[in-house]
Subunit: 355 residues, 2 copies
């Protein structure tokens, strides 16, 4: 359904980003990078829940050196996140980073960038030009009155990225990925639309500082959802003030909602209403918890009433619908068995195992 | 920024839907409608958290009669949700419902619809034609092979709505609102886009059976976010397998993300990374809890580091940024005070009270 915007693919370790490759889910560690053991443990948990690429902060030389140790313990490619000091980028490359993220807002000296590009080119290591609306290069134009308007911010974000893209291209380097993140959703959407029409490089989508789990997921889902539905975006990171595993969960829910990726089961469940005669919310939560152990990309429904529940959830592979003291087990919208309420959950789970 | 799609406004009680009116947030009760006291209590909680319109299920005559009692205890307009039996619509009108929702999938007899329209017209009570992809009228066309495709489902949904719209128009009734809900996000988006170009009536947006809190909010945010960003939609209901208060919270977060409504504080908080030296996730959660008691539409930031935190969150009215053992309090991106970590939360809250 969605016509993907053209981008030329890059390779980060074994992961392809852009072109026809599936949209890649990534996250960032929240451990102290210098603590290799803790960072490896967090990345392994991320791998288990489907994270395909991981970024680590590199605030000092010890963190850059730690990359070599971390790489030994993990299976997904690692991106070093660099701000302020280009020497940390050089050290990260030396210690095996599979890609770099450079912030053009605080890494601007052309000679420093050239040194990093030279080292990255020798290793064929991609660089993400990661613009953040909150840490942009100083505005040197004469249109400073436009800064506070969305249009002004969008054009400054795009120009910050374009300036660094042109610099990398002038150094004959094109293993480029770009991001233009803001907290404001319309600003972020406009910025990505603008850059997508100007460059052939893959785009990394995200909303910065989007907040706590639920509001942050909603904010990210809208911004990333609008862009992905227009075919824009090759890899996504949902930033949440929560565990990185939750970020990966939210990222896959976004991709699944647009039928862009399959990932584990999807739960269809009704909001309940005055028609419902069972404790549906508790039952659905229990099913949700049990499904965390299931990896098959199946659709499971938990519906409040037998009258239209199975019909309304007919796209589900298997489901249950509540009644008065008893309920129904259904497959593809057809009731196959009626059973007491207390047996519904276990009947559903054994049905799922049989699929 | 967003150019609103034209719709002619309707009035449900004191609430205007469509035209230039703000996008209305609604929810549905999950109590037994026949239990007026429990339903009133739930609606009052909904009113407190900003719900502007509430729907109740009317599965039988006793539920319809209960509307009169419920109406006495609430301040927002009430919509009666009708399936299967047109007499429940008549009884709901008689007992004071401010609007009706009719499902064209299970209420089809033109004479029955005419009787309801006649009664609604006498009271100038609006009717929502509420199509649900899972409970559509039988497909009588010869293109049944197309049913399973998205295009087929979309055109069946639109046709089901259009048939009933034409019937109401032929009865000289135009106090109409329309919804076309599905679980599949691209299907829902396509259906609303198609109907928006064909009718002048306000649209009620929703994704059906979208599931548990987090995945359901993500799914709803994408579907509703895409449509709202195109100017489509006059009222929204987020359906979650959770309390109706959570539905209202999610609805406002969607509208706030697109700058379509203001509603209480917005928390900007960073995801934390290897640069962070305080327990930011716990701190942000505590701030989030404390903000539940604040009604001012302010932006509050909780950032992991002093180095770029205040700058990255410069659009926040007030914020805190962590350091090593101590942190900073900032306003509009400028640090105004440095203080010990354990005093950050209370300093932030007193700053918020001063705003």
């Amino acid at each position: 359904m969605i016509q993907r915007h053209y981008s030329q693919s890059i390779q980060i370790g074994k992961v392809t980003i852009g072109g026809d490759a599936p949209i890649v889910v990534q996250s960032m560690t929240k451990t102290d990078t210098r603590d290799a053991a803790a960072t490896i443990e967090q990345i392994r948990r991320l791998e288990e829940c489907g994270c395909e690429l991981v970024r680590v902060a590199v605030p000092d030389l010890k963190a850059a050196q730690s990359i070599a140790e971390i790489k030994k313990g993990i299976n997904i490619p690692l991106v070093a996140d660099i701000h302020f000091d280009y020497r940390l980028a050089l050290a990260s490359l030396e210690h095996g980073a599979d890609a770099l993220r450079l912030n053009p807002g605080n890494l601007r000296d052309p000679e420093h960038i050239a040194a990093v590009v030279q080292a990255a080119k020798e290793r064929q290591t991609p660089i993400r030009i990661g613009v953040n609306a909150g840490s942009m290069p100083p505005d040197e134009g004469c249109q400073s009155s436009a800064i506070s308007s969305t249009t002004g911010i969008v054009s400054r974000m795009v120009e910050a990225a374009m300036a660094q893209i042109r610099l990398l291209e002038s150094l004959d380097f094109n293993l480029i990925k770009v991001s233009l993140k803001a907290f404001d959703v319309p600003t972020t959407v406009e910025a990505y639309r603008a850059i997508a029409s100007r460059i052939p490089y893959p785009l990394h989508l995200g909303i910065t500082e989007s907040g706590l789990t639920l509001p942050g997921s909603i904010r990210s889902a809208i911004g990333l959802g609008i862009l992905l539905s227009e075919g824009i975006g090759d890899t996504i990171r949902v930033s949440l003030t929560d565990t990185p595993e939750k970020e990966v969960f939210a990222a896959y829910e976004i991709l699944k909602s647009l039928n862009l990726r399959e990932h584990g089961p999807t739960l269809v469940s009704c909001p309940t209403c005055g028609r419902c005669e069972i404790d549906l919310i508790s039952l659905a939560k229990k099913v949700g918890e049990r499904l965390q152990g299931v990896s098959k990309p199946i659709k499971v429904a938990v519906m409040g009433c037998v009258v239209n529940g199975p019909g309304e959830a007919r796209e589900a592979d298997v489901g249950i619908a509540g009644g008065k003291g008893k309920g129904a087990l259904f497959r593809k919208g057809k009731v196959v068995r009626t059973l007491p309420e207390e047996e519904l959950l276990s009947a559903l789970m054994s049905e799922i195992e049989d699929l």
